[in-house]
Symmetry: C3
Subunit: 346 residues, 3 copies
């Protein structure tokens, strides 16, 4: 079961060009395309006639034409042309989905149209901010989407999974971790004080002494994250709320879109203010940082393989699971409310 | 559920050489081989001893010998030798299937042997007709076999799927389509009058002016087709039953053999009278025409993927579906009769 | 259902080096690793925390550390460290399996620890015997493990599957076969007297005349075999228990470890006393002999494909099945006893 009344990342803006793009979200086949003025459209990717996917068809003006028998559907999903006949049956339509393109992301609303409020879209403002460097990535992963949520709310794993770049043992051993649950979101703040910089921080932050580093991971249901990774010279006041000296860091925005119960489209983007004029260095920083997520993905796939062998094997929680457990609770409560609403409506 | 008391194409004659050939028809493993005089034999491809497929064995005279422990079966499926013992148990046999080789096709009867009447074999007479050019193809496709039937009874799809070769928009827009149901067969006749020739017709038909073109698709259950694709100079009487001038066209014979519920072995052959002495031109015509079916296959696979996601998604029929719907009705009625017969027999 | 209270081959000794090795036995994920002094350890390959496989982690001294959040488990499966917290929950452990390394094999006990008696380990003494040549192989095969047992207790198949090397028709046609069932083991002795040597025997046995050959296949449940393949110059007394002249042969030890109901890890090793100083000849003999099992594996995969199509298709037994049928009976009786024991215990 998935949370429906939410905006999910369907694609990065630059993944959606002139051709239709097939995506599967929450087990539903969806075709994305741009109408003549570039506005993104999301329709059910299943011609109402003989169920060919519209995504193998062609965009014609603001409409999309099925590749098989030429039926044409407008951006609202209404069939507006059937070759060889004048009359168009009333039930000749496909579902259309509300779409908003914002900060370089194409967001699709998977619930009831009348409840689609763009105010609920996660604020990935850094992804098109003037002067910021941004790289975006997208992977289709054989894992349940909640494994990724677990990962991003317990960043102690940097000490092990990412020990060669952004991680260091102190992030797990001596960090001060605070978990806050607001009504529906969860924030985990992790401070690691007075430690030598990890390799990436040393290489690009230009530190010569110890640093204070923080990771603030903000989860919004169903599955988006904004993670602020920062650092400053140790003892210059960052933990007390001052800017701190030699401040260096980056933001990562994550959109996690379930494809099926056991596959997920994972979108993530790295963004930071310019910290050097050395473009090769920035490129190397991005390469190194994006590599980090590849290390995580290998873990997700491995976990899912083990889970599939025995989905009911017991688990034990540890102290750092406070954040992940809160997020699971949020999702479970929202799913229960969704089911109750559906029962009431039927 | 499949129709059983029918002849299905198991292989093209030239696919069956000296070695045993494994095929799966209606979910049943079958081994084809030729006895010493070349007569095709079809047996259950499962040694009665330890269930090794006989198709990995060897033809010995008129018999086939299992590769594993050397049991020998004759063309009737009877075990005639068990190495190391004299006596052969009475139940040591595998099912044998009636086979007829005709017009370059190996037809296998999938029902009760006593009802196997070769008169029911579709008449693919063009495939070995003197002076005709023929090419045959065979593809294993991940789709339910009825998707191919839909395709071949609504040739308006040429306007979209095959627009670069044999198709043109008028085939869908202005065609005059007549559907005739005989007792068990369905014929769809489509005339498109006074139109410029589509690319293939222009290139090989040698037309300089408009043409009248016809497509006559004849379906016989469970799943064979003879399609007459013809054309003549417009206004020379073809629609009225005269030969027409500058007449040009070709026949395609299709045999569609379900392998499982969602996979199909699709056999099709292009045949035509010689229309030029330029062999390279004929070769190019065949290449172009066979490519057409590849375009269809891409659609079948795409449809099946979407159907698998939600087999119960609704569909809407259009005017051109009269033929496909009649064929489905024929199949459904025959399946119902088959079930009734099986219930009565048990 | 699998037999549990038994030792199974988990790996050849030389497959288990310094890195953790993931294996799946009886559907259970297991990680093998060596503690600091080289002793093999077998643990459940599923971190109790978030179910990452421990096999993607690292060996640290005598322990293994999870790659994800750094939990450390000792050789007994007890969690001995959780980064970031002092206290370790009592239920933070993974299953540990008794392991014995003997004669170049790593044996894992899949049942209750208290019943693990190393005296029950099959005696593969030839695999590390001074002066013997040994090669070991291991394949993961898509077949049910009992298909391999059938194969090794009816060596008449050499006449067909291995006719180009160790087989000859007489092994099936004229062999004298005796099947003995002891309490739980089954021995099939096959003598083929006064026959020309099969290719491999001719090439490496150096025979100039006929031979007497024997194959003694000894099965111990659940799934191990010691097969003595021997020969001697015909008429020199081998069948009567004398050594025989020009004696030549080899031993093959087999360990067959079910991975799932339809996949199996198959371990086999060829061993023989030196019969020549020509190392290239010995190498060629091993190459030829190991190739033989590849021929069997092709049959297993083919059988399983046919079985999957219709698991209930009938079979017929032949005379040579006495051995395989006894082995099946042994396994079925032991499985029934195991189930009865489990019911009594619950």
């Amino acid at each position: 079961m998935f949370l429906k009344d939410y905006w999910y990342v369907a694609a990065w803006s630059d993944e959606l060009g002139k051709s239709p793009l097939a995506v599967t979200m929450l087990k539903q086949p969806i075709v994305l395309f741009r109408s003549a003025d570039g506005t993104p459209v999301a329709l059910e990717d299943r011609c109402i006639h003989r169920r060919a996917p519209l995504s193998i068809g062609n965009v014609v003006g603001d409409d999309i034409q099925c590749a098989y028998h030429g039926l044409v559907f407008d951006a609202g999903g209404k069939c507006v042309k059937i070759p060889g006949q004048e009359q168009i049956p009333r039930n000749a339509f496909v579902r259309s989905y509300p779409v908003v393109e914002r900060h370089g992301c194409v967001w699709v609303w998977m619930g009831e149209r009348e409840r689609a409020d763009p105010a609920g879209i996660p604020n990935f403002q850094w992804l098109d901010k003037a002067g910021w460097s941004v790289t975006k990535r997208h992977a289709n992963i054989r894992c349940e989407y909640r494994l990724i949520i677990d990962n991003l709310l317990d960043l102690s794993h940097l000490a092990f999974v990412h020990s060669s770049t952004v991680g260091q043992s102190q992030v797990a051993d001596i960090a001060d971790v605070k978990t806050e649950r607001r009504r529906n979101s969860v924030r985990v703040t992790r401070w690691t004080l007075n430690v030598p910089p990890a390799r990436t921080y040393l290489q690009f932050g230009g530190y010569t002494g110890n640093i204070d580093r923080w990771q603030i991971s903000e989860f919004s249901p169903p599955s988006s994250f904004i993670i602020d990774n920062g650092s400053a010279a140790s003892g210059t006041g960052a933990p007390e709320g001052k800017p701190g000296e030699q401040r260096w860091g980056f933001i990562v925005c994550h959109g996690i879109t379930p494809e099926t119960e056991t596959t997920t489209n994972y979108f993530w983007a790295l963004a930071h203010e310019a910290f050097t004029e050395d473009l090769a260095a920035i490129e190397e920083f991005h390469r190194q940082s994006q590599h980090v997520i590849g290390e995580d993905i290998a873990v997700f796939i491995a976990q899912q393989r083990i889970i599939d062998l025995d989905p009911d094997a017991p688990t034990v929680d540890i102290r750092y699971d406070a954040g992940p457990l809160q997020a699971r609770r949020v999702i479970d409560q929202l799913l229960a409310a969704q089911s109750a609403g559906e029962r009431a409506a039927s």
